[in-house]
């Protein structure tokens, strides 16, 4: 038991026998089959592999397993069970903000991290909040608009 890493994943207590220097991204995808966590660059630039790590947005490709002992990790698979997700999903649907979809699980978690801190963000605050997540399809407008809709229609959720 001593050589296992313990953490909470989408609300469940789990362990991993991977070495401390492995990437959280690879463990989530390969061992836990959480393939909603996407790999875009493996260097912390694109945000496709974003997860919530103790409530903070993190690129899981840049997180070593050794650093997550006792932490709480939420991926899109866990987040998509929440009411907040539903509000964001409905808003994204209204603006057709999902194109290829590859950046979207990470982008949605970036929106959650933003709204959790700031339930009524301005355009500029939204653009800053999602600036670590690259999207090559939309030009970002539809996503910015969706965050505003979610903030308005999901009032009280954040």
């Amino acid at each position: 038991m001593n050589d296992l890493i313990h953490f909470t994943l989408n609300g469940e207590k789990v362990t991993s026998d991977r070495s401390a220097n492995e990437r959280l991204l690879d463990v989530l995808r390969e061992d836990f089959k959480l393939t909603g966590v996407k790999c875009g660059c493996k260097e912390g630039e694109c945000g496709a592999c974003s997860v919530l790590l103790d409530g903070v947005l993190a690129n899981s490709c840049m997180v070593a397993m050794g650093s997550i002992e006792g932490s709480e990790v939420v991926t899109i698979e866990g987040y998509s069970e929440t009411k907040r997700f539903q509000a964001l999903s409905d808003a994204y649907a209204q603006t057709s903000a999902v194109q290829c979809g590859f950046c979207i699980p990470g982008m949605v978690l970036a929106c959650e991290a933003l709204l959790a801190k700031n339930p009524n963000p301005t355009d500029a605050e939204i653009r800053k909040g999602i600036s670590g997540n690259l999207c090559r399809c939309t030009g970002y407008n539809a996503i910015v608009e969706a965050v505003k809709i979610a903030a308005r229609e999901g009032k009280g959720l954040w």
Partner: protein, 704 residues
């Protein structure tokens, strides 16, 4: 707004946003081997020897000797090898593959393999290439007299750089070989291109190759030709190993070896007489890289676009696509158009200054209208709504007033606003739709009265599944839920052609509409029914003759007018994009939110192409910045807001009046941005991308 334009939630919305959609790297397959490709580290060499260590049990090396059919990948021509034939022609060329259970072991083996090269001097400068892959030219009117009789002749050189697609999902394929059949699945725009290529490389009959498209994380043209190469490689690997083999490129590898937008150098001349542009002469060179891939057609489109949206009575256009020892270039949204459109738009801006006019005035004066001859002596058969589009652009951007205001600036911060007018020809270039593609669709009605649309069309995010379903649902008068659209599998779908060239909605969508109309007339509740519909070439078109480079290359065109406003800090050369506005004619939008999303995403790519997306190759032919840290694309903070509008100009030969849309917005961003920089800096500019460093050079030179 027509009722079909009203937006609906996209069909792929929920699977993608919830993380449930399976892209190729997400598939769980029993007994899978991981493949990794050993790539050339030098730009031009013969391979003397390859030293391979003893392989652990269950690990394989796959190379040219394992290709059961022909060691070449059919794209347009057949010069690309599946695996190196003993020479390497660019840094990144595939030499062999290592495959096995554990990717870490595969990578260790790859590191131990030594390739002994006999290096040769690579050709890296397209202007020094002595291998011309393709060459075309055409004239119109009496261009020689125009230049002979001119009051003044203006000559300028233009240059455009590489652009990397940066689809968020890298290239990836899984090949398997079961019961004499090669099965290929992965991220791809054109399943039947892959099918044709794999069939040839494997030496198999058509029914022994099956190609399945998985969910696709963006493409932008980058998954038009490359999947044929990777598809052949995984097919050969699966054939040799007897196991499914998956190859997913690393991002660095993807940027190193996958196709990009062709860099181009262009020389333009204009004849001016009595304050009018009376003749134009364009000489264009596109850098193909080491193999031909899609270059002939990219060059053709580039040359067709070379004189822009203007009615020049006398012109000559010549161009060639040449070989260099660099990564082969291919399709990228706009497909050869953005390079020449950049040049003609900048040239028009400069000619206007010579004549003493504002550039927009000159452009408005010369813009084509319905009934005019096109550059290639075809015709603009339909309404060209530029006057209304320019008016709308002024309403939303206020560019006319701003240009006056910005004319007299002093102080540290200088503003500029640039305007571009462009088109994208809808569908395959020339006679391709009629002679090469011959698209076929099938519509099947099941006994439960659900209707399935069978086409080879792929959804890479552009919304194809949603708009196809809308076309069928509206035509048949049945609920959307009754219409089924799945990712194509060549065992099930007919060849409706590639998902490229802004053709899917206009051409394939029209075939679906016709098939649905027939099914509606013959609808028998509770019975299984099939309708097959084949491409019919529009009879109004002036036949395209490639040998003369004359005729109608496209049935119709989509149009756009773009404005970009910048503010430059003349002390630091920092440029802020203050606003970006685009007005588009894509016929009837089949879904307004999808069209707006296409326009905005493409516009931002075009602005990136003009401003920041710089890819460099060093003196050894190595791409210097093959990572997201060093190849920079726009983030949400680089442009404050994209204001986009459509004008509705119904195209009768498209479904519900729709025509090509996907590529158009990527064409006009760069010239609008660079003209804005010209306005702000007070100089003429000639290249993309025009970066902060470039602005600093201009400002330093102005000080002297």
């Amino acid at each position: 707004m027509q009722s079909i334009s009203k937006s609906i939630p996209k069909r792929d919305h929920f699977p993608k946003i919830s993380g449930r959609a399976k892209y190729v790297d997400d598939l769980q397959i029993e007994g899978l081997l991981h493949g990794k490709i050993l790539r050339s580290s030098v730009a031009c060499a013969e391979i003397n020897e390859i030293l391979i260590p003893d392989l652990p049990n269950g690990y394989f090396v796959i190379d040219k000797n394992d290709v059961p059919g022909v060691n070449s990948v059919h794209v347009v021509d057949d010069d690309t090898p599946v695996f190196s034939d003993g020479t390497v022609n660019y840094v990144g060329e595939a030499i062999l593959m290592v495959a096995g259970r554990d990717l870490k072991v595969v990578n260790q083996i790859l590191k131990q393999i030594k390739v002994i090269y006999h290096e040769k001097q690579p050709v890296l400068d397209m202007m020094k290439s002595d291998t011309i892959f393709y060459q075309y030219g055409y004239t119109k009117g009496d261009w020689e007299s125009a230049f002979r009789d001119a009051d003044k002749i203006i000559e300028e050189d233009f240059q455009t750089g590489y652009q990397e697609h940066v689809y968020m999902e890298v290239q990836g394929m899984i090949g398997s070989y079961e019961n004499g059949k090669a099965i290929i699945r992965g991220t791809m725009q054109c399943p039947y291109y892959v099918h044709t290529a794999v069939k040839r490389a494997m030496g198999f009959e058509s029914d022994k190759v099956q190609v399945i498209q998985e969910e696709m994380g963006g493409a932008f043209g980058g998954k038009e030709d490359y999947p044929s190469i990777l598809g052949c490689q995984v097919a050969v690997a699966a054939y040799k190993t007897g196991k499914p083999v998956k190859v997913i490129l690393d991002r660095n590898e993807d940027i190193t070896c996958s196709p990009k937008r062709h860099p181009a150098k262009m020389h333009y001349r204009a004849a001016i007489k009595n304050g009018e542009v009376t003749g134009i002469d364009a000489d264009v060179v596109y850098d193909c890289g080491a193999f031909t891939t899609l270059s002939p057609v990219v060059l053709q489109r580039g040359l067709i676009c070379a004189t822009g949206v203007y009615d020049f009575k006398n012109l000559r256009v010549r161009g060639k696509a040449v070989k260099t020892n660099t990564v082969p270039n291919g399709a990228f949204r706009g497909f050869g158009g953005p390079q020449t459109f950049f040049s003609i738009e900048m040239f028009m801006d400069h000619l206007a200054k010579e004549i003493g006019l504002d550039s927009v005035r000159l452009k408005e004066r010369m813009v084509v209208k319905q009934g005019d001859d096109s550059a290639t002596s075809g015709k603009y058969h339909f309404h060209v709504p530029f006057p209304a589009m320019i008016e709308k652009l002024d309403q939303i951007s206020g560019f006319r007033k701003k240009r006056e205001t910005f004319r007299h600036q002093t102080g540290r911060y200088r503003s500029g606003i640039g305007i571009s007018l462009v088109y994208h020809g809808c569908g395959f270039t020339g006679s391709g739709e009629r002679d090469l593609i011959k698209g076929v669709v099938k519509v099947v009605k099941n006994t439960d009265d659900t209707v399935e649309l069978l086409t080879a069309g792929t959804d890479m995010g552009q919304g194809l599944k949603t708009v196809f379903a809308k076309i069928a649902s509206d035509t048949l008068g049945i609920p959307l839920e009754q219409v089924i659209v799945q990712n194509p599998d060549t065992d099930r779908v007919p060849n409706s052609g590639p998902t490229a060239a802004s053709r899917s909605l206009m051409v394939v969508g029209k075939l679906l509409q016709r098939a649905a109309e027939k099914l509606k007339q013959d609808w028998k509740p509770g019975e299984y029914q099939e309708v097959v519909e084949k491409y019919v070439h529009p009879d109004f078109m002036i036949p395209w003759d490639l040998s003369k480079f004359q005729g109608d290359p496209y049935p119709d065109y989509s149009w756009s007018a773009n404005a970009v406003e910048v503010k430059v800090d003349t002390l630091t050369a920092t440029t802020e994009i203050v606003g970006a506005w685009g007005v588009y004619d894509v016929g009837t939008p089949i879904d307004m939110a999808i069209i707006i999303g296409q326009m905005q995403g493409g516009f931002l790519q075009g602005i990136g192409y003009g401003s920041m997306e710089l890819l460099g190759v060093n003196e050894k032919g190595v791409i210097r910045n093959n990572s997201f840290s060093d190849y920079i694309i726009p983030t949400s903070m680089d442009v404050p807001n994209l204001v986009t509008e459509v004008v509705e100009n119904t195209y009768d030969n498209g479904p519900f009046g729709g025509k090509g849309a996907g590529e158009l917005p990527a064409v006009g961003g760069a010239p609008a941005f660079v003209e804005a920089m010209e306005n702000a800096l007070g100089v003429n500019l000639h290249h993309t991308p025009f970066s902060q460093e470039d602005a600093m050079k201009v400002l330093e030179a102005l000080k002297k």
